[in-house]
């Protein structure tokens, strides 16, 4: 399954990029993410509850950020396993300035197996798009919330 889209966030590019690489913020923004622990340089272990249609469960996932070119690009690689099956995917995020705001272009390729594939496959695309939407909305809120802090702090 392929996911792609763009999302515009009304915050400077540096700030958005910082948020996108901050595990604490990511944990808050990734829908269903209950835990995100650093396990190495740009490597994290995450625990998340996710579901596609009737198939729901807890996934434990490894997340790694690669090819980081601050503040414009990185590659995200996720491998998750759980009782409803597995999901693995990778995606690229590209940030660009857009009239004072930041435009995030994302593309991703996700494979799923197990119950997720046999029951949920038809709904995965829609679910993927929905989750991406939720994520960026939360990220927008986070970057907005961090505005006063960052304007005084940095």
């Amino acid at each position: 399954m392929k996911i792609e889209g763009t999302y515009k966030i009304a915050a400077p590019r540096e700030r958005v990029f910082a948020a996108l690489t901050d595990p604490l913020i990511l944990q808050k923004c990734i829908p269903g993410c209950e835990q995100m622990e650093k396990t190495g340089e740009n490597q994290y272990h995450a625990k998340l509850t996710a579901g596609v249609g009737p198939v729901k469960g807890v996934f434990s996932a490894t997340v790694s950020l690669r090819d980081i070119v601050s503040p414009q690009h990185y590659k995200l690689v996720v491998e998750g396993k759980g009782q409803p099956g597995f999901a693995k995917g990778s995606g690229e995020l590209n940030l660009s300035d857009d009239a004072g705001a930041t435009s995030i272009a994302y593309t991703g390729d996700v494979n799923v197996g197990g119950l997720l594939a046999s029951v949920g496959q038809r709904m995965i695309q829609a679910t993927g798009n929905m989750l991406a939407g939720k994520f960026f909305k939360a990220l927008e809120a986070e970057t907005a919330a961090s505005n006063p802090l960052s304007s005084t702090g940095t």
């Binding site: 009782q83 099956g85 597995f86 494979n111 799923v112 197996g113 197990g114 119950l115 594939a117 046999s118 029951v119 496959q121 038809r122």
Partner: protein, 802 residues
């Protein structure tokens, strides 16, 4: 004397219990102390198992045991009965050993006090998989570049086979023209209404194992499971209670059957496994699965010169009972109902990371018929001739039977013109083509599809079968005159409890309701083969008929003795002294319940005797001919000398909605000839069901694996079975050309619908889209595909025949 019942549409005696929910399937059998088994199945299409940690599962309350591959390595391999030259047979164990080869591959089994505990425990098993690259498409998997599934073979090619007669190269060269066409037969799921299920109970004292399982082949399954378990065959009793459909998917021996027996022997408790629907779709055999290339050579007048079919047959990762044999049936039937002087099939059987394919209603023959019928349509289109004319041109004449094909078969009897003419008359074919012309002028997409098919049935002569093609029957007349039939065939929806009773009723002069047909219990019924390949009546029914003849022979001797005449004749259901017709003397029979013990039987001279009278004499045994054994029962094992070849014509008339690509039926007419009919209502039912499954294949059904080998059509939400609303009104008729192969003259009808209908349906849709240059489309004919063609607009010189 009861009226004759053979040939009459008697209602099925098995139906009241089925439609009232009173029948007993495996899951309805409840034994005290039963444990429940649930499988952990692979979620990867191809992976190495690094480790399995089941400790959390084992500790869950209610869990009794968890078994993995290493625990069950002593269970023998899952059998494959097909013997082909140089066949590569993978070692197929009951549970995955070091690798998993397809999504649904059983990895572990949890046994618990309740099914829910077992299911919960399955989720706690941790398997560390290491993914491996997959081989999925049967054609690509055959190439040297493909990842190899079974390393020991170094290739995914399981076998290569060439068959057929005649010089195919010369035949194609001598043709005025040769058309080539690629065709796909997508994988289908058989979807029996009742999934598989097994209940096993071991009696440690007696060292006997009883297995209740939903199978089409109780005796063969018993033999194979006994071999897998290394136990004496006669210590294993296999019972098939009611079986809720099979369609070939239960013509098999599955790992789960042996495993349940083994587990019950380990734990000394009954254990039950009932397959879920998702499991059923992943891990019960699939049907079809071929990518083929047709080459058909023909003269300008439409005379066929030769047919070659090069086919990649998708085996799946392992062999089940008949997996590699299915494409050989395709090869056998490539002549269709035509004279084709040279035929060649080149089969490449290929392993893929998917569930095994095997027999699904039709089993290789729908593929053959589809190939031949598509080829005939392509020839007709190329020559601008009516498809009916091209077919007729190549039919053998009724006088040419037995007809020898270039595939090495002798068709027993046939009148292909007769069935075709009848069907054409039913639709008023010339008028229909006129209507089509008008419709096209009006811009409507009307299509007419004609398929004339022949199939190979009543499987079959043992020499041509993997494991015996005969069938058995024991017929007993009990002391009260009731008739018991023990059949080795194992009906599971075909209605043989009714049709066999009809045969017995007419032959023995009793009522249909006086006859009980017992099947599917190896402790009661003599060894038999089973129900598949449209053989139940033509082979199993013949065994019943022949056993009855033996029994009647003995009964006649008793009658002559009792009637004190030289010979007794059986007239209108009664024995009488030879030459004397029934009714001359009133027929008193010995009243049941009035014990003749102590009283000498009265002489019956000049009277008639019913089978009940004879049965009583035979069991009381006070007045039998000298040296005659008491009792009245006979057993017959019928070995057919040839297959039978039912045939017919199916015509579909459709109109395609230009806006949506949807297919609307205008007519569906079928004329089938299955030889002599015992019960026309059963025949009609079989044709109905077959056409519906055929329509599913043509229009809707397709098992889809994604590029990772995940089965994405894994539920009935995603796998499109046809529903009642999608089925047109079926107008059926028949012709009756008796088979000379058996005394009943019956040919078999179980698979006719799935064989004859698919090409007619595709032909109709292709014909409707003729103005768009379409000559061939692959199934399923989805509206989106048709809509796209319509949207692209009419083309002049397109060739579907590439």
């Amino acid at each position: 004397m009861a009226e004759k019942t053979v040939g009459k549409p008697i209602k099925r005696t098995e139906d009241p219990r089925l439609i009232q929910g009173l029948a007993h399937y495996v899951d309805d059998i409840r034994l005290p102390d039963t444990l429940h088994a649930v499988f952990l199945r692979s979620i990867y299409a191809h992976a190495k198992i690094n480790s399995i940690n089941a400790s959390a599962a084992e500790q869950l309350p209610g869990v009794v045991a968890v078994y993995t591959g290493k625990d069950v390595a002593r269970i023998g391999p899952v059998p494959c009965a097909a013997a082909l030259p140089d066949l590569k047979v993978p070692d197929h164990r009951a549970l995955a050993q070091n690798k998993v080869y397809f999504v649904g591959h059983p990895v572990a089994v949890v046994v618990a006090e309740t099914k829910s505990a077992a299911r919960d425990a399955v989720d706690l098993i941790e398997v560390d998989y290491e993914e491996l690259p997959v081989a999925l498409d049967e054609e690509k998997a055959a190439s040297a570049k493909s990842p190899v599934i079974h390393e020991q073979f170094g290739t995914n090619v399981a076998y290569k086979l060439t068959a057929g007669e005649g010089d195919i190269e010369a035949a194609l060269k001598s043709a005025d023209q040769v058309i080539k066409q690629k065709v796909l037969h997508k994988r289908l799921a058989p979807i029996a209404m009742e999934p598989r299920g097994v209940l096993a109970r071991y009696y440690p004292g007696e060292q006997e194992l009883t297995l209740w399982t939903s199978t089409q082949i109780p005796h063969l399954c018993r033999t194979q499971v006994a071999i897998m378990l290394g136990m004496p065959e006669n210590k294993l009793r296999l019972i098939t209670p009611e079986v809720g459909g099979g369609f070939g998917s239960k013509l098999n021996v599955y790992a789960e059957e042996a495993l349940m027996g083994w587990i019950s022997m380990q734990l000394n408790r009954p254990v039950k496994w009932i397959e879920g629907r998702r499991e059923n779709m992943q891990a019960t055999i699939h049907g079809r699965g071929q990518t083929g290339y047709i080459e058909i050579g023909f003269k300008k007048d439409g005379t066929l010169t030769g047919l070659r079919y090069n086919v990649f047959a998708d085996m799946g990762a392992y062999f089940q009972l008949l997996t590699p044999a299915i494409p050989t049936l395709t090869g056998l039937m490539l002549s269709g109902c035509y004279k084709i002087p040279a035929i060649q099939i080149n089969v490449t059987g290929v392993f893929t990371n998917k569930m095994s394919t095997d027999a699904y209603r039709g089993a290789g023959r729908p593929e053959a018929t589809y190939v031949v019928e598509r080829a005939l349509d392509l020839v007709a289109a190329e020559l601008g001739k009516d498809p009916v004319e091209v077919r007729r041109k190549n039919f053998p004449q009724p006088s040419e039977f037995p007809f020898k094909t270039a595939t090495g078969l002798f068709y027993d009897s046939g009148n292909y013109q007769g069935a075709l003419d009848k069907a054409l008359k039913m639709v008023d074919y010339p008028k229909l083509r006129e209507e089509q012309k008008t419709a096209r002028k009006e811009g409507r997409l009307m299509g007419i599809g004609v398929s004339t098919y022949v199939e190979i049935c009543a499987l079959g002569p043992s020499a041509a079968m993997p494991a015996g093609g005969w069938e058995s029957a024991t017929v007993r007349v009990e002391p009260t005159g009731k008739v018991t039939i023990l059949t080795g065939a194992s009906p599971h929806g075909q209605g043989e409890e009714t049709s066999f009773a009809q045969i017995a009723a007419d032959e023995l002069g009793v009522g249909v309701n006086d006859v009980t047909v017992i099947h599917g219990d190896t402790a009661i019924v003599q060894y038999g083969i089973g129900t598949f390949g449209s053989r139940g009546l033509a082979v199993g029914g013949t065994a019943v008929y022949l056993a009855i003849q033996k029994l009647k022979d003995k009964a006649g001797k008793i009658a002559a003795h009792v009637l004190q005449c030289e010979k007794a004749s059986f007239v209108d259901g009664k024995f009488c002294a030879d030459g004397k017709a029934k009714g001359e003397v009133p027929a008193p029979s010995t009243p049941v319940g009035e014990s003749p013990a102590g009283a000498l039987p009265h002489p019956h001279h000049g009277k008639t005797l019913s089978m009940m009278d004879i049965a009583l004499e035979a069991h009381v045994a006070k007045n039998l001919p000298p040296d005659m054994e008491p009792g009245l029962s006979a057993t017959s094992f019928f070995e057919p000398k040839n297959f039978t070849f039912p045939f017919g014509t199916h015509i579909a008339v459709v109109e395609i909605d230009k806006e949506t690509g949807e297919i609307h039926f205008q007519r569906y007419v079928a004329v089938d000839d299955c030889g002599k009919q015992i019960n026309p209502m059963l025949v009609e039912g079989q044709i109905h069901g077959g056409i519906v499954q055929s329509l599913g294949q043509a229009l809707y059904e397709e098992l889809v694996y994604d590029d990772q080998g995940q089965l994405v059509t894994g539920t009935l939400m995603d796998y499109a079975l046809p529903k009642a609303i999608m089925i047109p009104h079926l107008e059926l008729d028949s012709t009756e050309t008796p088979s000379p192969v058996n005394p009943l003259g019956a040919k078999g009808v179980g698979e006719a619908g799935t064989i004859g209908a698919t090409p007619a349906l595709v032909s109709a849709v292709v014909n409707a889209l003729e103005p768009y240059g379409v000559r061939h489309l692959d199934m399923p004919l989805k509206p989106e595909v048709l809509w796209q063609i319509i949207k692209n607009g009419p083309r002049k010189n397109s060739a579907g025949a590439a």
